[in-house]
């Protein structure tokens, strides 16, 4: 099978203007992936599906990944002027100090596709796409028109992560009920507080049951 670099070259030759980026995978599995530009993703998908040499006709797995906004603390060297008393005389001195600055790296939602070939019996080729952010611009092109197996899996990603797949023929919630408004697989999802009674001695669950009681103003359990 072709390496990711060769696949990238093949895509760029076939689909002009396709911004394909290799995402290296440092793990021992060595499954490197290709990040597609959402604008050309469907054309690239069509090429990968139809190309006789690659013939990636089998889309195995579709999933979402949530990358929340990350706060990154960096140490920066800053030069500033300080007033100091040197030998009894006040002077302005330039000084270099370490300062911790916080920078927020905007998060995004990512869709990951694993492709195999049934005719050529090779794979996997991993494709990824990223949304602009996690709140407003969360749409990606649907690859369901190319591979039908994405139909339910993209619905699931829409349900649990909230990625809106444009061009999906039937984008509804798959697992949760229709009136549900949250996207529970997101990292910042707050679960409903229903831990009002906990007979087990599981630490984390006990802590949540206690939090529920504190919130409800019930205090500690009787008899403790």
């Amino acid at each position: 099978m072709k390496t990711v670099e060769e696949i990238k070259a093949a895509i760029e030759a076939a689909v002009p203007g396709a911004g394909v980026e290799i995402v290296p995978n440092p793990s021992v599995s060595g499954q490197h992936s290709l990040r597609l530009d959402p604008a050309t993703a469907r054309a690239v998908g069509k090429f990968l599906h139809d190309d006789t040499e690659l013939a990636l006709d089998f889309l195995s797995n579709v999933t979402g990944v949530d990358w929340p906004d990350k706060e990154i603390a960096e140490k920066v060297k800053v030069t500033r002027t300080v007033t100091k008393t040197v030998d009894g005389v006040e002077q302005s001195v330039e000084e270099t100090v370490d300062e911790t600055r916080k920078r927020v790296e905007p998060g995004c939602l990512e869709a990951v596709y694993h492709l195999y070939s049934v005719t050529r019996k090779h794979g996997p080729v991993v494709l990824r796409m990223r949304t602009v952010n996690r709140t407003g611009q969360v749409s990606l092109p649907s690859l369901t028109p190319v591979w039908r197996s994405a139909e339910f899996q993209e619905r699931e990603v829409f349900d649990l992560f909230g990625i809106v797949f444009e061009g999906h023929p039937d984008l509804r919630r798959l697992l949760m009920w229709d009136a549900f408004t949250d996207h529970p697989m997101r990292r910042d999802y707050v679960e409903p507080d229903d831990f009002d009674y906990e007979p087990t001695a599981h630490d984390e669950v006990l802590a949540r049951a206690q939090a529920h009681k504190d919130a409800a103003g019930q205090g500690t359990e009787a008899g403790q």
Partner: protein
């Protein structure tokens, strides 16, 4: 009829887009005579596959639309797994496809081994193959039993299937301590070493399995009612099957030669000689037949594995099974589970818990084509077509 609240009922007649390139059979339009009927089958219904709902639109007795509704057993496996360590997810995988816990263990162990680069000792590989094939055998046996049950043959074939299943479950119980939720495989091997007595007992049970396949073959394969009900019903074309990501016996019944045991050659499957049966009519009967033939191939693999199993450790002595932190990165590992391609996709951020944990459920994806197979069929055949897909809801909804 449907006693579901109005807001939950979906109108199956609202047809949505049908992109080109899917090779779907054409939609059937109502012939205008008589009344259209909308039936919500499930989530509680008499078939044996658990809580699953189909919204079916009927023109007389013919199915003209069918929309599956999922989520009645959505147990948040993936969300829970992201909050616990790698090892702690192992018992949860048992509960995915609860008829075949050991293949679920295997797929998960394989994915983690890919992520961390652990080696598995040879004896453990043999054990995995033995347990995996026993699991495949009992899954196909029960699946045939359930299929016949759904044709209305209440009891008998399922009783025969469960008689065999109990024998295999006894082996599992003796080895792992549990009938169903075995929790047996570990990253880098297996949990306990079987005794020589267990292996002997397994050889005896395996020797008796041929008789069961013969019995099923004689009882059912030429049965007039079975043939009349299943031949030519629920046809799935190979192009559509590949495009829709159908895997496992369903795909091979549609004539596509794709068995991950042969394609990936994971574990030690390349050491055994076995055949991959393929269907040529692509219907429900072929799916029944493929399962029967695969059971025979499983026996072949079992006999070879039980003959050759070497001594040695069942756990890599250097393997870390708990408290490890894989390097940042990701891995996708897959095996040929009895129902199709079962894959686990793991992303590590260097912490003790997986950052993202995803199960690729064969049962869910095989259901993509349910509507295509059921279009134009009679209502009574829908249950049969659904039964031939062989799903387990624990895996569909996770």
């Amino acid at each position: 009829m449907s006693n579901l609240p109005v807001d939950e009922a979906i109108d199956p007649l609202t047809v949505t887009g049908r992109p080109d390139g899917w090779n779907r059979p054409p939609l059937i339009e109502p012939d205008g005579e008589g009344e259209l009927l909308e039936v919500a089958m499930g989530p509680h219904h008499p078939s044996t596959h658990g809580v699953f709902r189909m919204d079916v639109a009927l023109d007389g007795e013919r199915v003209i639309r069918l929309k599956p509704v999922f989520g009645y057993l959505h147990r948040n496996h993936e969300k829970i797994a992201e909050g616990i360590s790698y090892l702690a997810s192992m018992p949860y995988t048992d509960r995915l496809d609860y008829i075949c816990p050991l293949t679920n263990n295997w797929a998960y162990a394989l994915a983690v081994e890919k992520l961390t680069g652990q080696e598995v000792p040879e004896r453990a590989e043999y054990l995995r193959v033995i347990l995996g094939e026993l699991t495949r055998f009992q899954n196909h046996a029960s699946s045939i039993g359930f299929l016949i049950q759904e044709m209305g043959a209440s009891g008998t074939p399922l009783m025969y299937a469960f008689r065999e299943r109990e024998k295999i479950l006894d082996l599992f119980e003796e080895l792992t301590g549990a009938r169903m939720m075995c929790n047996y495989m570990r990253f880098g091997g297996c949990r306990v070493d079987p005794t020589a007595a267990w292996l002997d007992k397994t050889r005896k049970v395996v020797a008796g399995l041929y008789g069961f396949t013969e019995e099923v073959d004689r009882l059912l394969s030429g049965n007039e009612i079975l043939m009349a009900r299943t031949q030519g019903v629920g046809i799935l074309r190979p192009e559509l099957a590949v495009n829709a990501g159908v895997t496992g016996p369903m795909l091979r019944a549609s004539g596509v030669n794709y068995d991950i045991r042969k394609v990936d050659g994971y574990s030690i499957y390349n050491r055994f000689s076995f055949k991959v049966p393929l269907g040529d009519h692509w219907d429900v009967y072929d799916r029944y037949m493929i399962r029967l033939l695969e059971m025979r191939e499983s026996i072949k693999i079992l006999e070879q594995a039980l003959k050759d199993i070497p001594g040695g450790p069942v756990m890599d002595p250097k393997a870390k099974i708990r408290g490890f932190r894989p390097k940042p990165g990701e891995a996708y590992g897959r095996i040929e589970a009895p129902k199709g391609e079962l894959g686990f996709y793991l992303i590590s951020d260097g912490g003790p818990n997986p950052y993202r944990y995803r199960v690729r459920p064969p049962s869910l994806i095989n259901l993509t084509v349910l509507e295509d197979m059921a279009l134009g069929a009679n209502m009574a055949d829908v249950v049969l077509i659904f039964g031939s897909v062989d799903i387990v809801l624990g895996e569909v909804d996770r």
